[in-house]
């Protein structure tokens, strides 16, 4: 068993070391490849528990001996973001089942972060979104200049909170020198109408000090179009995709104009 408990939450350690109990008593809020639970402790600490799927045998060995598992990477990346001055839920614990045949189940536990995802942006016009797009572009530019690139930069992983944008599900992140192209490509999966996407790219390129922001915006639209065309083809997506948020709200994103 590998355990990592944030010293700030050591008073919860007996509970955290038993994630099965947490999960059994918690509220399931997402069930897919991985499972997400919410749990509030007796002292009122709201936690978010992500239970990762047990990988196949090869990956169990890889994660045991060669590469850090996803939960551990989520801890590391979330910490890197927070230290660089960005919002991300505070790490609370990471628990991993170990055996000589590789890792077993693993749980990443963080503080619960209130906030709304930005799925709704897919249906909003530019005039409503412009200030928020500029803010997100500036935030992303700062993050990339700090050498941090969230490769899962999707609407479900960006929460709008009172303090600004908060980044969750951080297990996929690249560190190093991030150029403008790389930074813009990472934002292709956001749900935005073409004019909003153009505005985001313009603001991002300007924030990164590009000489030709218009060209970067045109390139971004092109990359984005290809990204969604491929996605529709590979995943057999309809032209209007729907996401149901954890509070039950449904958000729609019409891809018609994006792929034209």
């Amino acid at each position: 068993m590998t355990e990592l408990v944030n010293p700030e939450y050591v008073h919860l350690a007996p509970l955290l070391r038993n994630p099965e109990r947490l999960v059994a008593a918690g509220r399931l809020i997402h069930s897919g490849r991985n499972r997400l639970y919410a749990f509030t402790t007796g002292d009122g600490t709201a936690l978010c528990i992500k239970q990762y799927r047990v990988p196949n045998l090869l990956n169990r060995l890889v994660y045991r001996y060669l590469r850090p598992p996803k939960g551990l990477r989520a801890w590391r990346n979330s910490d890197a973001l927070r230290r660089a001055g960005f919002l991300s839920p505070e790490n609370v614990a990471y628990i991993q089942e170990d055996s000589p045949l590789g890792i077993g189940r693993n749980w990443y536990i963080s503080r619960w972060q209130d906030g709304a995802t930005i799925y709704r942006w897919g249906a909003l016009p530019l005039r409503t979104l412009a200030p928020q797009l500029d803010a997100l572009a500036h935030c992303a530019a700062r993050m990339h200049e700090a050498g941090l690139l969230l490769t899962d930069f999707t609407p479900g992983n960006i929460l709008l909170t009172t303090g600004g944008f908060c980044f969750v599900d951080t297990n996929r992140m690249h560190r190093g020198r991030i150029d403008i192209a790389c930074g813009l490509r990472s934002m292709r999966g956001l749900w935005l109408q073409p004019e909003a996407a153009e505005r985001l790219a313009l603001a991002y390129a300007e924030a990164r000090g590009a000489h030709d922001p218009q060209q970067w915006a045109a390139r971004f639209l092109c990359w984005r179009k290809r990204f969604w065309q491929r996605r529709i083809h590979r995943k057999h997506l309809p032209l209007e995709i729907v996401h149901t948020d954890i509070d039950g709200t449904q958000y729609r994103f019409n891809l018609q104009t994006t792929i034209q």
């Binding site: 990592l4 050591v10 007996p14 590391r76």
Partner: protein
């Protein structure tokens, strides 16, 4: 409440770990002790001792803090090395064994410029431990506000090391007796815990019986002993730098790495005059002492123990998840298991 396990394998661990225990208690956390069979039980009534693995697991320490060269890898918690001395290069080797990596530690709490750069380089190339320049916990106790008790005559501490070939302990009894009888000085003789030769111990005990101005004690109580004396007579021991921290001079007999901060002599006959010179505290010697101690111990604010505890928190929050795997070390781990099982018998 955070739990910390203080791991003592020799009696010197108490003076190193107690300032840490004080800081742990001051923060409202809890410390418990693990004493190896090689360590005498000098615990006070208010100190808690754990005596088997089950108790350690139940205690669930956040960190196991040890000043020795090893710790049981199967104990839970982050393993923290706080060292039992400074890198003194007491043997004439290319690499000081102070810097030997044994694969036990997650954190090395270094003391100053004499150790931090070397450990930083090792951390960069190995990647499985972190280095924090916290200063040495033991030095916290040197910052006692109370003035030293007044002495009518100068008192000299003789504290030889244990290593054969370096230690002066076998050739000193006669010189010590001569000086005790002829010079107006009091003496305190303390032994390294690893000097266990019964004949030698008896010889010094008899010397102390014959000379009323000589007091022999097996255990050096660190600052408590230092504060009773005006000068240290030694050979090559890491105790020298600790003593120099108190701002008092040291006379050495054939030190392996002498420097201008010591009055080093080559024969026992030269010891008496050297002590007389050192007791006068010449300005140049005192300046060199100041320079030398700052090289070994960077912090002089009495917060070294606090920095060790902060380093543990910082390591868990920010570094532990990014560390490389520690060396597999199967042979050493097996040795540790055997040692543990033996000690439980």
């Amino acid at each position: 409440m955070k739990h910390y396990l203080l791991f003592a394998s020799h009696s010197y661990a108490f003076s190193i770990l107690r300032p840490l225990q004080e800081e742990i208690r001051r923060r409202g956390d809890e410390a418990a002790w693990w004493l190896e069979y090689s360590c005498p039980d000098l615990l006070r009534p208010d100190e808690r001792r754990l005596s088997n693995l089950r108790e350690v697991r139940a205690f669930a320490p956040l960190a196991v803090i040890a000043p020795g060269n090893w710790v049981y890898p199967f104990f839970p918690g982050v393993k923290v090395e706080v060292f039992h001395g400074y890198p003194m290069r007491k043997r004439i080797e290319a690499v000081d064994d102070h810097f030997t990596l044994r694969g036990w530690w997650d954190i090395y709490c270094t003391q100053g410029p004499s150790s931090t750069p070397v450990f930083n380089r090792l951390a960069d190339s190995n990647g499985w431990f972190a280095v924090y320049e916290t200063g040495w916990c033991k030095v916290d106790s040197f910052r006692l506000a109370a003035p030293e008790p007044e002495r009518k005559r100068p008192c000299i501490l003789y504290a030889p090391t244990f290593s054969r070939g370096i230690s002066s302990v076998w050739e000193m009894p006669d010189t010590l007796e001569r000086l005790a009888r002829t010079m107006p000085w009091d003496w305190i003789v303390t032994f390294h815990p690893l000097i266990t030769d019964p004949q030698l111990i008896r010889r010094y005990e008899e010397l102390a019986r014959r000379c009323p101005n000589v007091r022999f004690s097996r255990i050096n109580e660190g600052i408590k002993t230092f504060r009773q004396t005006d000068l240290l007579l030694c050979d090559s021991s890491s105790l020298i730098v600790e003593y120099l921290m108190t701002g008092k001079p040291v006379v050495t007999l054939r030190n392996t790495h002498p420097g201008p901060y010591l009055l080093d002599v080559q024969t026992p006959e030269e010891i008496g005059p050297a002590i007389s010179t050192a007791l006068a505290r010449p300005q140049q010697l005192m300046t060199e002492i100041e320079r030398y101690t700052s090289f070994h111990e960077v912090h002089h604010d009495g917060r070294n123990s606090a920095r060790v505890l902060d380093a543990i928190d910082d390591f868990i929050q920010h570094k532990q998840a990014s560390m490389r795997r520690k060396p597999l070390n199967l042979w050493r781990k097996a040795q540790m298991l055997v040692r543990y099982l033996k000690s439980r018998k």
